[in-house]
Symmetry: C2
């Protein structure tokens, strides 16, 4: 801030009451106060103005309203593109986000045949199979039904570092677990559509088919439709984004991302699973005894510290450790934080609202004394399920599992204050 | 959807179970079923493919992941620019949005000197006046404090049609009440900063000053700082947008938008209000007796039906009437809907989560019998305050008030099913 008198401000008629303080006074005073609380005064050096930025914005008329907003040119949040292929993926910059909502253009992507281009006026959803009257719904038809809006996370079941050696310590939260995002979803309850077609009382499963080039296809138990499944057409208020299934997708709150079939074009009702490629050769969890978990839909309770993390640096003092916790089984009941690699744990604070099958922001005020530290978080959901350690997960499932890595992560603070992903956990 | 066999789908191994249905079968069946529920089958005519859109997206490899998402080219939600001037405004397309969250690039704008361009590395917030140690905080300093995230609405106190004749019946919800948006805000509680500077026990008011060309300046009671005020630097997860105060703004949950000073650069602590232009010549409510309400900060309980509204058309049958309700005093406790211009009322359903000082989505399933109808909504908050009628508002405040128009709105359905803003209410 440049120094200025307050005479230019028509509202500031009582400005003479303000004690005359100089910039230097403020900095010295700040130093004294912050010493007491452990918060160092950062960024107080004078920075030259950026090109195109007025040194004093109060002296320059600003930009006029526009029909669509833009980010500040100083802010460039970006997804991390793991693979720029039709069967590709990009991750949400978890370390850059606050709260729980993910801006729609930063929602993670995962698709097996690329993002299809779909004209919504040509879009239809066919529901057929074990029902009285097969129906084809246009997008307008779907929007005509009573709708429901809910804030839920979606997480790719492959999210998270592998269970093998974790050799790269230079990984950000976006790189380790960025296939996780949270949106307010709006759509028609699938139960309403199933009633509309007169679903058979003998129906037990349905097949959901996408209209992408992979024609993503998954078998889903009918119970989920009568619980909380919806055909969603809206994300954070507006139309679903192309990467998230425009113009409509299946939403199965709390279930692995892959089963939330995007660009959904067909639902077939039956009495047994279809045994598609995506539930036989993929999206199963091999177990130590040679068998495999199949239809492991629910995303187990998990948490992740998003700050501090690689590549942050911490100096001795107080730090607001924060992160996200979530469970596909319901609400997060508790998050504990350890700073000594799991030897001792303390409760973190949960930020309201704590919603079912939704990310919950947690915070823990940590006094870093310097030296080496290991930061871990452990979440418990309302069913009592506790996020496991890496060793517990391997013991339960064996070493070959590619999915559902909800084990505890660890950030190692080196003795010089630099933070890395702990590859030794 | 084009007809296709399911042989191309590697997962669809049980496709032979599907009854062979033709497109015609589906339409005929659909017609029969929808007659029973009152939902007509819309949009089932064949539409020619759009340029660049494949007739069958399953046959074409889709787009690969990118670091930033884009809307579908078929979706163009836009703010409505009421005035493209530095003292201008643009409104949120309420009729196009579902749920409660407003995408950040559609958040309404209101500023008196345009949107300033600010380099965040040069940004500072000075807090001085009646305190032990005046301090200047950089953006990094602010982010170092423990933060809080909450979902709140912001509404311009001038939102809503004037109290005079409402001559234009061709107004959308965006045009009548679009200066209302809801975001998840993150920032540092102002109480923490006031403790940091050692606020005087005799302090009663503080002055908040923006760094825009209008140098927006408002006096705020200190109680609000120790209640729920924050210096917000994040909106829907990411950095606050320039139009909403980048890099930091005052957030006073539930209070009139103007007092939530954007681009905040200075807070002066005192023991009396400063009587700035924005709280004397503006943002006061003249009363019938010649006096005026001053410092009328709280946004009273209000609601608005966003569908159906102008320019919608409804045919006889069931419709999902929906809208938003909100109160600056706390949670919305009840929303009633009238379809007969207020003669009778029925409870609408409130969509969870119902959060304090936040918009709440409501829904009411309405069987439109045809003919003329008048749709109104009436909200009650948890304090028992009931949204007033236009007549009640005028009786309480007289005809001259420019702000705080929370009176009940009405959408008139003409006998031909076309919906207009009711100018006669």
């Amino acid at each position: 801030m440049t120094d200025k008198s307050s005479t230019g401000n028509p509202g500031d008629v009582n400005a003479e009451k303000a004690p005359a303080i100089t910039r230097r006074d403020a900095i010295v005073a700040a130093g004294a106060a912050l010493l007491a609380t452990g918060v160092p005064l950062l960024g107080q050096t004078t920075v030259p103005p950026s090109p195109g930025i007025p040194p004093d914005p109060t002296k320059v008329q600003g930009r006029v309203p526009t029909d669509l907003g833009q980010r500040s040119s100083f802010e460039k949040p970006r997804r991390f593109v793991f693979r720029a292929l039709p069967s590709g993926e990009s991750g949400t910059p978890l370390q850059d986000l606050r709260g729980i909502v993910t801006p729609s253009d930063l929602h993670f992507e995962r698709h097996h045949g690329g993002i299809p281009a779909i004209d919504p006026t040509n879009y239809t959803l066919l529901i057929h199979g074990m029902c009285e009257r097969p129906l084809k719904f246009s997008l307008d038809d779907l929007k005509r039904f009573p709708s429901v809006s809910r804030i839920h996370f979606i997480e790719c079941s492959g999210n998270g570092v592998g269970l093998g050696p974790r050799t790269d310590r230079k990984q950000t939260p976006q790189q380790t677990d960025g296939l996780l995002s949270t949106s307010e979803w709006t759509g028609v309850p699938l139960a309403l559509l199933f009633k509309e077609v007169g679903i058979s009382p003998d129906a037990k499963w349905f097949l959901a088919e996408g209209s992408d080039a992979a024609r993503m296809t998954r078998s889903i138990p009918v119970e989920k439709a009568f619980d909380d499944a919806m055909i969603a057409y809206s994300q954070n208020g507006e139309a679903i984004r192309p990467e998230q299934g425009y113009p409509a997708r299946l939403l199965l709150p709390g279930w692995e991302g892959n089963s939330n079939v995007k660009w959904i074009q067909r639902i077939e009702i039956g009495d047994a699973p279809w045994m598609t490629r995506e539930e036989t050769s993929k999206y199963t969890d091999p177990l130590a005894n040679g068998t495999a978990r199949q239809f492991s839909f629910v995303m187990d309770c998990k948490s992740l510290i998003t700050f501090p993390a690689y590549p942050n640096f911490v100096s001795p003092g107080w730090w607001d450790v924060t992160g996200l916790a979530w469970s596909g089984r319901g609400k997060v009941a508790r998050v504990e934080v350890s700073t000594d690699r799991g030897r001792s744990w303390e409760d973190a604070e949960l930020q309201a609202p704590v919603l079912s099958k939704c990310t919950t922001r947690f915070r823990y005020l940590w006094k870093y004394a310097g030296g080496e530290a290991h930061l871990m978080s452990r979440a418990t959901d309302e069913t009592g399920y506790v996020q496991p350690t890496h060793a517990e997960l391997v013991a339960a499932r064996g070493p070959g599992t590619l999915y559902h890595h909800n084990d505890i992560r660890c950030w190692k603070v080196e003795s010089d204050g630099h933070v890395f992903f702990d590859t030794e956990l």
